[in-house]
Assembly symmetry: D3
Homo-oligomer: 341 residues x 6
């Protein structure tokens, strides 16, 4: 049964050089609008849920363009505030082979989202209308005001019985000036205390949460199976999920998803696939997990669905997953297919 | 020695989303005009023959654009009728990796070709001017009027000593409403009775013609070698040819052509290659077979030429093969080459 | 105060050759989705109202693309049905100077909208949720099923106290085969009997409604002032509005709007302006009138607002008006301005 | 009744910067293929005649592209020779307002056309198949070999009873190094001796032919009416035609055509129009005159048709006229029109 | 004789929606890099001078792209510092007719230029290498650090005998928060005290400098002739120059330049022209004045040259003038011309 | 420490069909400017050196565009002469899989570079300002004048103590008419007599220099190790370097670089990589070797750096390498990386 979900997060403008030219070679950009919350809510609305973004956009042509784009993605924008002056942006140059893709950010600190005054969001009311709300660790890196808002909203959701979903994603470059892991940790822990469903893997446990392996294990898989249950217990998490990704010699990626639920690990197959657009694919996996949790799938099915959704997101242009539930199920069931007529 | 050839068939407008975006993401389409007959005749005129399309286009800017495009491909359009109001169309979204390409059709039933009144084509005269005429099973799916025209034209060609070429291609979605294989079969059989050169494989023999294996064999290869000679005998076919295609794990396709002529099978090598544009590549193989038949190549050479032509067609943008005879011969002779200066 | 409004009508795909090339010269199309109802509801949602489209789209990638595009325009698509197979389309080649723009239609009769089964729309319920619903005469030209739906829906709106808005637009080419004005007239009259706000001018009165001038007047302005009050009385119309347009020698257009309300005519200034995109601009004028009616503007203000909205729509790419209420008001207040920073 | 016509001339590649950028600003070019002969024959085939180009193209991908493009324009390319190595090219930067458009040529002297060996064209046979053949003065500027071919072909056409059409066009930059008017004159006179229909105006008579006004008149119109009859008599010309063009302050052009036939001048109206693509529009006027001559129009109708064809050619992208006879007639009959549906 | 010149100012990224779509309609941007200093120095290097930009760019792909673009414009970038993280940006939506173009800025305060640490530029050394340095009032609006740098650099130029050029340009939106004219005035006055050549008109004198008319005159022309000499005397200015611009009904602009030098006013003709790209055209006028000053033109010639340069800049795509001295002189000498071959 | 370097060579315009269409299918070209000298100097200026091109460009919009493009690449164009009329060009159609890319040249013999009068370059002065100058064997194929200039310039560099770098590249098609290897050899030998650093492999030794294997060896590697030391001794070369390239079945290329210096061979790893843009990648390897030589890298490091630079150049759009020294070092140190943020 479709649920009503929301994400709290910033909308960013993605400005991508077409083809494989560098910014210093081209004169054209394709633009779209994304963000972790955007990606997750768009994917969930493709899966049939009613999805809102809780954010703030400037009341100017850039804000209008962003709102129009989000509506196109199927996101209900009626709860997005308008105010402030700027939009965060990033420029993307596509790599090729050994040459990696490059992302260059503009200044996000002055964005409408990151300069929202305290109290401007009606969190209490919004929390009451949602079955689940998604938060992302990247948002925690912004500033004190945003952190306060995020914790307040998550608290309201928890209080009113909604599901709090937290993605433990940590972007080192964003915290650098303010002190790194040590500074960030209490904020992550505050969110984990409120969360029901969390995305992380053993690296996050080690670095962001500062956990250590009692057993001295070093293999990723072993560490995962030691640390995730410990984290789930420490913070009272119902569900923890995440992926292991490898870049293969021939340029393809391999991806394996896991879910830890009710004290038990389930894993997807190791999926191997060529990559068209890497950015945002992690959010597709997260959306698949959330969909499984909202729909009450068995964990095995949830993680298989999420991994297939993640794989499909690599085949689609743009940050934002575009696959319907039927398309994800078809990708789970079938291999490579010829033209679909 | 160059021959004069024609194809009877519909011209469709191909509307392709550039790059890898979906129709719901993009705002731009590249358009061209194709169809089995278009592809075959264009390829044959690249190989040096004089080629006509026998078809009907609307007398409006879309019809003008289609006719201009066919001329550009080297097709003589002076026998194409103008009348009716519409053109069949299809939209193409390129897939990537596990995500298949998608084709979405517009309504073809009301097209100029499919609404041509009885008697509007001067088939008797045209048949007398041609060394060979190509027909396609897809055309049989349209409606009674088109089927009547097709059989009348093929009959005239046969009567006047021309070569009747028939591609047994069957598109299930087009027959669905009118009864499927059972309904279609007599129409295919009527064409086979008139045909000299036929494109089909064991699947067509089983499903379209309703043949069964006397030996209970199940391997494609074994079935092919049992059923094709039986079909050739039943319908009095001089030449039968076709391909087996596989999709490999790494995204490449493999293709092997066969020709059955004078009671003997010849096979091409199994060609393995990456794919740039899949659609229409089957018509390139057919054109290669027809070229070999018209030029009197030995069957071994004909099927090798056809397979190379088919492989090259996968490397070219658009439905329509663009390789000259020299380029096909070079592809047969050489492997991968560096830049050609 | 924002109202809840809907339009009943077909969504068409617009496929436009970029620049000034002909279809026979180019290979690229820009596509968007429009229709009278789309244009009116999009404009009204720009003016702050909540707007729905009541229509039917195919459940395929074209339907997905259309729905995404409508959402981008600010239209609520949650009441649009999915079913049927096709979308109506039109191709647009831009003219230049003495060379007029050309529109070429594909077959609309088989579209999802025009093949909707009787009873598939929940008109009674929808009518109860709307303050006003817009209908267009072009829709009347489609077929009996569509005409039945349209009258049923308009009847439900009237019965439940909503405002019935009817645009008397008559497209001769669409009625040709079925009998022209004589055949169409009773259907227009049925809608006029139900309507509160109507768009028409003296040409519609003469030709569509078959009215004649008692006074033998021949000037457009005189005829307008004679025939519109007569029509308003005959059909019990609260408000009638429309425009007179002229093409000037230097390529600019002039436009003057009128509104007849409470037995009194009000006129806008004669606006003169260069034209960037002509198609759909009439719907912008209509939207301005509807906005004035919904907001209770004085008729003088309503018609000035509508004319400015119509003028602005000629400056915007695409069929669909993009101006906010503030932008229309600014265009009413000011002349040509330099860059806006 | 449709005639069979040919033009003898070079095919050039046009490489145009899109929009209004300079070559030093952009990185993209649109290309097409044109030339006086291409433009005239394409226009005549649009008017219903069967048209050939007699030329020579390199046997490489550029030559293939040129041939494909000419076929698209409706030109029969079966008499075009393949050989040599190069194609003449020109780059076009669009001007705006006071900033004029700029044309930059590549080296034409080494082109396939300009290096054709003597005797390579079967002029005698071709001349016998044509009702009329078009030659252009620009071709005379190339080199001795081309001049010999041109005179030989024109002589064969005259001998075999075909119509010799000669455009007196003189491009100063092309003759500079070899001696200017004095050097060029005998070649122009040789062609005029063979010609039936000639395009020129009083400037050509003064400068190219070195004629002088006996009366000392200085007005263009007076000079025209004095010098053209004198030239017609001196060279035995059946028909002489040409235009006077002015650039208006507001950027529009005005154009008036004349025809001198059977000792009598006829003039078109002075047409005033905005300009989309200036290059090649003179060839559209010439095509209109030729069409009138071939069809036996009265001179008044011929010159009006030609002027309208010339005007329409300014509204179309590319060098080559795209209007059908019906479109020219409509432009003669009507003024500015709204969208054509 | 060519001089060595520099400008001190920010480089901004211009992101323009192609054609006439809004940001909410399109998905593509064309980008370039500009700024008052960029425009002036690029124009001067087109006129033959050696030109440097004194600025600061981020050491990332955006900074690389900006530097490459400036080099392409002919600017010597070897004195540009690399550091900081961001680039100022603005988005441009092209207007049409009554719909004005819109500029939307991103946050400039955090740009590399506006966050340059004190003392990072080697102003003393650079000042000694330059014949003239250009400064712009817009730069004054940034922050205290930038203002300090600007005054220090101008002081060094003056001390070492270079020409100080100051453009009195005032952008109200940039000062708003910090106090408007009253806050800005002392900074403008400090620059005027150092300046030799100043760009301003009577509006700047009234508003920015707070001057008043002793005579109570109200006509622009009268005010100009009263206030400019007073300002020149008050601040010890050798040359003051500027323009009056009007927008005409038909969309064209009119422009008249003035120069006040040695106590005497000279005026250009009133130039009337259509506009292709408005932004940056004022900088072209300034460049023309500076060129005249550097070359020792008579004031009449200087102002005529500057006005023609300004007019031409409206015909060129992008902010930055592209005309050579020869092209400006040709525009001064001639009217509209046909294609230049 | 950065050095001052130059290359002597022609600038060519590259006109590339976007995507994978043929010239006969598309209507659009992307253009840029390149040449061996352009590529080498651009790469060296990316590595931090000051780089000049010594060449000649036409004084027209094409020459302006070329100069602007070279500046953008970081090349100092102040020593480029302007004169002559034409620019050499080549058209590039991208291959796919088995279909090779095709290059079609325009006539270069009449280019500004190839028609430069004797004595027009101030070689003596320029040679004195350079630490090293690069020459390419392709230039030797042009004509006697160019060969004289090249030898004179190299002689001056040698005399004045600069490093003479010579790329032994031999393009058969360019020499054909003038006699092939036998005719070319003395010119290559003259350059080798002057050279310090030479690019060649065993094929060049065998064919261009006519060397033979004393040992009768046939393996490439064995031949290389026999012939290169012999050539180094014969011509007195300090450094010889080059590559062996293979095309793998899956479309990837493998590349191994060697350097022979001080009587000792060093080799890079065999690098295997997918190819985005093949043309010009050899020049990137050469630039890496030159950089190592100029900076005094150990030979092992030089050849590893050069091979990585060559590999990276295959991943970049256009002929010209775009990698900085830091990016090459990163490619040497790391394998495939995920997105760089």
């Amino acid at each position: 049964m479709p649920k009503t979900v929301a994400a709290f997060g910033e909308v960013m403008m993605r400005l991508q050089v077409p083809g494989h030219e560098l910014l210093a070679q081209s004169d054209t950009l394709k633009y779209s609008f994304s963000g972790t919350g955007v990606n997750v809510i768009s994917a969930l609305s493709q899966f049939g849920h009613k999805g809102y973004l809780i954010s703030r956009l400037p009341d100017n042509p850039l804000g209008d363009a962003a709102a129009a784009y989000l509506r196109k993605l199927g996101i209900d924008t009626s709860k997005i505030l308008r105010g402030g002056s700027y939009l965060g942006m990033y420029f993307l140059e596509n790599g090729f082979g050994i040459r990696p893709s490059r992302v260059t950010y503009s200044n996000r600190q002055e964005s409408s989202f990151n300069t929202a005054p305290d109290g401007v969001y009606p969190f209490e009311q919004t929390a009451g209308e949602m079955d689940a709300v998604h938060f992302c660790g990247i948002t925690l890196a912004m500033n004190d005001g945003v952190r306060r808002s995020m914790k307040e909203f998550a608290g309201q959701v928890k209080t009113q019985g909604g599901l709090v979903i937290f993605d433990c994603n940590y972007r080192p470059g964003l915290w650098g000036a303010s002190g790194g892991y040590a500074f960030a940790r209490p904020h992550y822990e505050a969110m984990l205390q409120l969360a029901d469903v969390v995305f992380m893997n053993e690296q996050d446990a080690l670095h962001v949460l500062g956990m250590t392996s009692a057993s001295g294990k070093e293999q990723r898989q072993e560490l995962l199976e030691e640390l995730i249950p410990a984290a789930a217990e420490r913070y009272g998490l119902r569900t923890v999920a995440g992926t292991h990704r490898n870049l293969l010699e021939d340029g393809r990626h391999s991806l394996r998803g896991y879910i830890y639920r009710d004290g038990r690990f389930s894993y997807s197959d190791v999926l191997v696939f060529p990559v068209h657009d890497r950015i945002g694919a992690g959010d597709a996996f997260a959306s698949g997990i959330i969909h499984g949790e909202l729909e009450g799938f068995a964990p095995e099915r949830t993680v298989a669905f999420a991994a297939a959704a993640g794989m499909l997101a690599h085949t689609v242009t743009g940050d934002t997953p575009m696959a319907s539930e039927a398309e994800v199920l078809r990708a789970m069931a079938q291999g490579l297919r010829d033209v679909e007529r």
